[in-house]
Symmetry: C2
Subunit: 722 residues, 2 copies
């Protein structure tokens, strides 16, 4: 199935979820009078919280609940039922579902627990459920979920024992869809957010995701006209490709997706044969994938809320240059520090700005950024505004930020100034309340937000949020790139034939792996295989001295460790001696290894050694990896990674992202390396694994990169088949 078909299918699945959010009629199966039971809580929500659709209680032991007629089964309801909320014990769920199917119910939210979350038996039952609902195309949220809230039609199809879902919040704009893989945790975020004035459109606790999963709900919210921002809590997904599709939809629709993802604690215990494999820790793949797709990843709940504040107020952050108006010198220093730590830039004010300001300001005020706003404030209030407007006009300033810590008596007067300023400039105006709690009065935050000014509690969260929205804005505004296919049909066919010869799980020796790279246009060091010392000498004479000798065996992956490499051999004598030594070392290192011979290779001219490769992630599939050679990769894990296929922008991002990036710009008198050649190899590897997903792992280690314009050359390579 090609991508366009996959997309059509996902969109169609998303449309199929509409009955779960906008049903005209709901059956509550397992309805109850009691507020201690899920079926009682949800019924109370429907009757008391403003839902306008029809509600039918279903409970075979009751005739009437809360004044409504109660039906023994869903089949007994005389009218059409769009959606069912299932709140029965686990043993009854399958029967109830079958009745729903018979009644042509379009979707069901299953609160009941006792499925995959409880172990073997539950997993089996969930598989059965999945089969049933897929067969009959009834859409499911859950089981083991807290349900769905639609704040647009007041449908609170959700329960919590603490009964503290926010009901009918006064917010006028409701455009944030919140998707959560933990009901309890999602609830706490929702309560916090709604109390702070965030306008949620939907809250979805998706439980075990037996049928509809995170990506389905994400796709739904992207296509939903009520939603313009999507937030979520994620512990992990099963289908990376599907999430990629949904994320692409979101990016195209310019609807930001902000996901708080956990999972760093989860031990990454997967065994891997190659470096690339070993380096692909699961959380790193998620991080890289999020970056690749423009999904914003906050590191905390507070940061999530801060990002939502910026997005909800439509604060357009086209760049990271910050002008700071601080309450005192100390506040300015602290704020500037935090900006720098977060990767923002403290703007340098232009000569023109400084001149304009110096005309307005008394001599004692020093005009530098951070600007001491209280100093201005003391002189006159209009002066404060005039100065801020001059700064806002500076083309080197992307935003104006106002860190405050102040208690209530100062606040209001300040807020009004901010609103006036906001109305007089097109640059973003952001208020930050220092030191979290003090003075962080929700009413003030809501008031300012209504005037288009985001106000964020907590310096650290604010700067991180701003940086992430700046990066998101850059990403979403950069042109979408097509994946380039650099390889001709003939070459692809050639590789197909070569790979056909290797069994699943097989490993290709260096020479075999290099043939494949060569077919995809990746330069490799010239080499000959030699079975005897005499052949080695003869090969060296053909290639020209100096040469390198390396053991060639698919059973020996780490040649250095096996002492199976000799560099810089300059004579027949040295080659002969090296040949014998390498064979002896290899036999000692791994007795019984299948040794194909010794590779005699041209000694590459000096360059910078990097590693590029392909890995395989259980969720996201093939990944492409890049890092600098040696200890940076092996001990510090300084690598970048993207899910295949990657576009050219992705490849450039990979090159720039590593910590040791500046090494590529040349150091110690060395010229800068040919980064374009690295990007080219990354793109070709991406294409290779797209064409041949049977490749599990591939390492080019090292790829020797020469100075700018001189290309790169694979000195060693390794391929492991799935």
């Amino acid at each position: 199935m090609n991508k366009s078909n996959e997309l059509d299918e996902l969109r169609s699945r998303a449309r199929g979820l509409i009955p779960l959010f906008y049903p005209s009629s709901i059956a509550v199966i397992g309805a109850s009078e009691k507020l201690s039971k899920p079926g009682g809580i949800v019924l109370a929500h429907f009757l008391e919280d403003g839902f306008q659709g029809k509600v039918f209680p279903v409970n075979h032991r009751k005739k009437e609940i809360k004044g409504l007629q109660c039906y023994p089964t869903v089949l007994d309801i005389p009218e059409q039922v769009d959606m069912a909320v299932i709140a029965v014990t686990v043993s009854q769920v399958m029967e109830v579902l079958q009745e729903c199917i018979a009644k042509s119910v379009k979707g069901a939210i299953i609160f009941s627990s006792g499925f995959a979350e409880v172990g073997v038996e539950g997993i089996e039952l969930q598989e059965e459920l999945k089969k049933l609902v897929n067969e009959h195309k009834i859409r499911i949220c859950g089981p083991n979920c807290m349900g769905i809230i639609n704040y647009n039609n007041s449908m609170m199809a959700a329960f919590s024992y603490s009964g503290i879902f926010p009901v009918n919040p006064p917010q006028t704009s409701k455009n944030i869809c919140f998707l959560t893989q933990s009901g309890g945790f999602g609830l706490s975020v929702a309560v916090t957010a709604v109390s702070q004035g965030f306008g949620f459109s939907y809250y979805v606790s998706m439980g075990n995701e037996a049928e509809s999963d995170f990506s389905d709900f994400l796709a739904f919210s992207v296509d939903d006209p009520q939603t313009s921002i999507i937030a979520g809590y994620m512990e992990g997904i099963r289908d990376g490709k599907k999430l990629a599709l949904a994320a692409d939809m979101a990016r195209e629709a310019k609807k930001p997706v902000v996901i708080f993802k956990t999972g760093r604690y989860e031990a990454s215990s997967r065994a891997a044969l190659s470096h690339t494999g070993a380096l692909t820790g699961s959380d790193m793949v998620y991080s890289s994938f999020f970056r690749q797709k423009g999904i914003i990843r906050p590191e905390s709940i507070e940061e999530l809320l801060a990002i939502l504040t910026l997005l909800e107020t439509k604060t357009i952050l086209q760049g990271g240059k910050v002008a700071i108006f601080a309450y005192s010198g100390g506040h300015g220093v602290v704020m500037a520090d935090k900006c720098v730590e977060a990767g923002l830039e403290v703007a340098t004010l232009s000569e023109e700005t400084l001149q304009k300001m110096s005309k307005l300001l008394p001599s004692f005020a020093s005009v530098v950024n951070p600007i001491d706003s209280t100093g201005l404030d003391l002189v006159s209030q209009s002066l404060f505004k005039s100065c801020a407007e001059i700064v806002a006009d500076d083309p080197g300033v992307d935003m104006l930020i106002f860190p405050y810590w102040v208690p209530k008596n100062i606040e209001e007067h300040t807020w009004e100034q901010l609103i006036q300023l906001k109305n007089s400039t097109s640059k973003p105006v952001i208020a930050i309340i220092m030191a979290g709690m003090t003075g962080a009065v929700p009413e003030h935050m809501i008031y300012l937000k209504r005037h288009g000014i985001p106000v964020i509690a907590g310096l650290d969260f604010a700067v991180k949020a701003i940086k992430k929205v700046v990066d998101y804005t850059f990403k979403v505004n950069s042109a979408k790139q097509e994946i380039i296919r650099p390889v001709s049909f003939l070459e692809k066919e050639k590789v197909e034939k070569m790979l056909a010869g290797y069994p699943p799980g097989g490993r290709l020796s260096e020479s075999q792996a290099k043939e494949i790279l060569l077919a995809y246009g990746i330069p490799v060091a010239r080499e000959r295989r030699a079975a005897t010392a005499w052949e080695a000498v003869s090969a060296a004479e053909q290639l020209g001295y100096p040469v390198v000798l390396k053991i060639d065996s698919q059973d020996i992956l780490h040649k250095t460790e096996a002492r199976g490499i000799k560099l810089n051999l300059v004579s027949a004598g040295q080659v002969e001696e090296a040949f014998k030594e390498i064979l002896a070392n290899a036999r000692q290192y791994k007795p019984g290894a299948n040794i194909t011979g010794v590779l005699v290779q041209e000694m590459l001219k000096e360059g910078t050694e990097i590693i590029v490769g392909i890995g395989n992630d259980p969720v996201f599939g093939s990944t492409v990896m890049f890092g600098l050679g040696g200890i940076l990769v092996e001990q510090l894990g300084d690598v970048s990674l993207r899910v295949a296929p990657v576009c050219e922008n992705d490849a450039w991002e990979m090159v720039r992202e590593i910590k040791g990036h500046s090494i590529l710009d040349g150091m110690r008198g060395k010229p800068p390396v040919d980064k374009r050649a690295i990007v080219d190899v990354i793109l070709k590897l991406s294409q290779l694994v797209a064409d041949f997903p049977q490749i599990a792992e591939l390492d080019i280690n090292p790829l020797v990169v020469f100075e700018d314009g001189r290309g790169a050359c694979a000195a060693d390579a390794l391929i492991v088949m799935k």
Copy 2:
């Protein structure tokens, strides 16, 4: 002056500050009726906020202020005056001070601004002031400060225009001294902290520190019996040695010091000739110094307050193994993630604990850490407590943490459970309120704190604070180490003679630098200097092949860049050729360089290349640096640093602290390196620079470290004199 004398002097200076905190009588010079003036604000504080000492207004234009007799000058006051608060304009300060001196006033707080903070003229005036007060031994806080508050005697000798200093807080225990280099910023921290129930003993805004500085006030608070915790805000200090003394006093007194230090934004623009010099960014030196002295450095105000909460409740954190009782599965996952990110460990419960718990728990509850406490809660409240007690008994658990987000209705019942639990275990019990603001009711925090339970708002701040207190506890409990002096008098004398030959700012060539290292017992590669190719060959024959040839010139510091090094030369022919090439390269690289010759050096056997060195910090003086060789140091700055002199523990910390540390444990089949040899070289360099502070910079790059037990050897060295 030796350290003990220096310490005596600092202690004596600290005692001299007592009149600033506990005066029996205060003169307010520049007293006013008006609350818009500093002299009015502070007088109102003295009269209205409970200060019991005598107060004398001084103002030559008034006869009486607020019912008190007003004096024209301080000299006119008929009684003794212990302390003066000076709130006059800058032009009057010197005269007023002279009168204070004549009156034998022991100390003065100078609010007046217009000194060093306003530029050249102010700097001069401040120097004059400094001279005057030093001569007459009157102690000064300020000028340009917000003053001192002593919460123990209700002496609010401070002003702020917003008039919002916390007055007479109800806190019973007042033991936190807060020192700040920014009055405004310190005020905001103080207001926040006091409103949250922190018990401050003193608040000191020290302004320009013309006479008494941060270290004086720190020493005062260490020796002060009212203070058991010292917190502060620091932008920078002038005298690192003095701060070191005060920090040593604090560590010895086991009074924790927590300093929020800014300064990352400040561009580090110092030029340096050696790597060590270039790598010593000022903020890094502060960080390293803080670590060395056990000063806790929070990264935010919230973290500062979180640390103070832990310290104030005497939460003893002997280790970092955490048992988590979470509100839901999701909350547990989030908490565990955060613990791991902060460097804490999610405790593995023992078999015995698991067995004990499984007897109590219903089958559905899965016993793992993080523990789902609401699951337990639903079954029975006593069960929750029993389980927590079992977990607390587990020797693999260092603390129990309880992340909550919940709103008020659940809170109180939970709090009581926590208090019961706290009373039944000796392990720390810590409450954390997730997502900052929601539910962070100060009264609850104060209530719990009174029962010995720290409650921290914000997950991120909590885990970072816990980790830092764990590290502090370890540090303060580890034995104090004497500095070892490994070098005999004779060798010291030898180096003295050698160094005497080099002028200030002079650079020593490789061979000269190595002589000095050798005298201090640091092994260096054997070598001969050669002036001609023939001499080089002869030297190589003496040393034995293979050899290394290197340019020897004090004008060429970066030999690789100058292509002035040839490795692994195995024959007379190669040596001859290399000699010529090196000379040619050097002449091309730096025409006119004074070339002493070419060094012929033994080719060291394979080892791990590291860099160790000495740097010179304008505040802290000589520093010792350690890092792994090559790009790790040059591009990533992965180095560790301590202020000299370092003790053995410091040296071991330096070795362990770098990111690439695991490389030293061996990789790729390599054996672990001789870390003890690295520690030894660090200690010897520390001694060298303690003996010869005229050494500005010293690089051993590389120091080749061999496998464990085989030592290390300096392959290259460089010394720059001050």
